[in-house]
Amino acid sequence: MMAVIDREALWQVLDGVPDPEIPVVSVVELGIVRDVREDRVTLTPTYTGCPATQVIERDVRAALDAAGYRDVAIETVLSPPWSTDWISASGKAKLHAYGIAPPSDARTATCPQCGATDTEEVSRFGSTPCKAQWRCRACLEPFDRFKCH
């Protein structure tokens, strides 16, 4: 008899897979995992050209295998397109604590080092496609800001 797969347990396995670029948040917190069924996990890429996409799929596969879910397939979908709105509240808090300003609609970012809001954009593109480079005018520290997308 086949064991019944507990979807909640699958979610927990996936929540243990860190994002390869920003390891403090999990792929679940980043909103990359779109759906979990008994036989299938659905992922979506952040940016079309993000090189981490393949690494994420590999890491998810490894985590599923290690937890005994060898028969659970991985499917990638493009639609609806990933949005930073899908990053969870806990994910945003972890980004901030890690030194990355989380995405927000505010005109200026809150400096993750000192908490000041007197900040400015230095470059629209940062260390990865999903981040822009900012600078704090109060503590003068540079920092990454997750772009609204």
């Binding site: 940016y47 079309t48 090189p51 493009l78 639609s79 397109p81 593109f125 496609p129 997308h149």
Partner: protein, 255 residues
């Protein structure tokens, strides 16, 4: 096993979309390590990465529509100049930074509008790729427009260079709006866009940015067409020579 028939209209439509992104992505990659500042270097590489990502999706879908066993890599690395369907604008040399930004501005503004229309494509894959990529391209269009303004309204030299960059690239704009028989058929089937529908909007957007940059619109020149039928400038062969060298020389290379 049932054989899948080739959908040649969809295949050709996807090649045009994928080749535009692939060739411009490769061109932007040439800037790696050569840009005026590290921030600019990052932005050019990141835009290139977005475009290569689009190309991968479009060309993989093209391979599926062709149903002859070719995937995106086979289409990117094992076709010759005459089989490429990109427009002339994207294969133009980078020139200086102003010329690169002028090209990006003229192309990304168009691509953003094109993808906006393709979000409603009758082909699900085209619609999904367009809806995803349009969010990235919007950023490319904004960034390059900012540089057109900054350089155009900057020093005497930066202004001269931006004028020259726009002047060089301008002759390739009419091709973006060409509706040949294939494009017309694709639009009629609902899978492609009727680019003629947004020509006026495009001109308005370009003019608004040029006005802010205190630049005059470049003079119209004899339009150059033919990329969509495989007629290319001498530059494309050189782009392909660099891009295709490794997979052709070491066909089984993996990394």
């Amino acid at each position: 096993m049932a054989t899948v028939a080739t959908d040649s209209l969809l295949f050709e439509t996807l090649l045009r979309l994928g080749d535009d992104s692939l060739i411009l992505g490769q061109r932007l990659g040439e800037w790696c390590g050569h840009a005026p500042s590290v921030e600019v270097d990052l932005s050019l590489a990141n835009m290139g990465l977005d475009l290569i990502g689009q190309a991968t999706l479009f060309l993989n879908a093209a391979g599926a529509a062709e149903a002859q066993g070719r995937d995106g890599d086979a289409l990117a690395f094992h076709r010759d100049v005459l089989d490429f369907r990109n427009c002339w604008l994207v294969e133009q040399p980078n020139g200086d930074f102003a010329q690169t930004m002028a090209r990006q501005f003229l192309f990304s503004t168009w691509q953003e509008m094109l993808f906006g229309h393709l979000e409603g494509s009758a082909d699900e894959t085209v619609a999904a790729i367009a809806a995803k990529a349009v969010k990235e391209v919007r950023y490319h269009a904004e960034l390059s427009a900012e540089w057109v303004i900054r350089l155009g309204d900057g020093t005497e030299e930066s202004r001269r260079r931006m004028e020259e960059g726009l002047d060089w690239n301008w002759r390739f704009v009419p091709e973006l709006f060409e509706m040949d028989a294939l494009a017309t058929e694709a639009a009629a089937r609902g899978i492609g866009a009727d680019v003629g529908l947004f020509r006026e909007d495009y001109d308005r957007r370009i003019r608004a940015v040029l006005a802010e940059a205190s630049l005059d619109a470049p003079k119209d020149q004899r339009p150059i067409l033919g990329g969509r039928r495989g007629h290319h400038s001498e530059h494309l062969g050189h782009v392909l020579a660099v891009m295709q060298f490794l997979p052709r020389t070491y066909p089984d290379a993996v990394w």
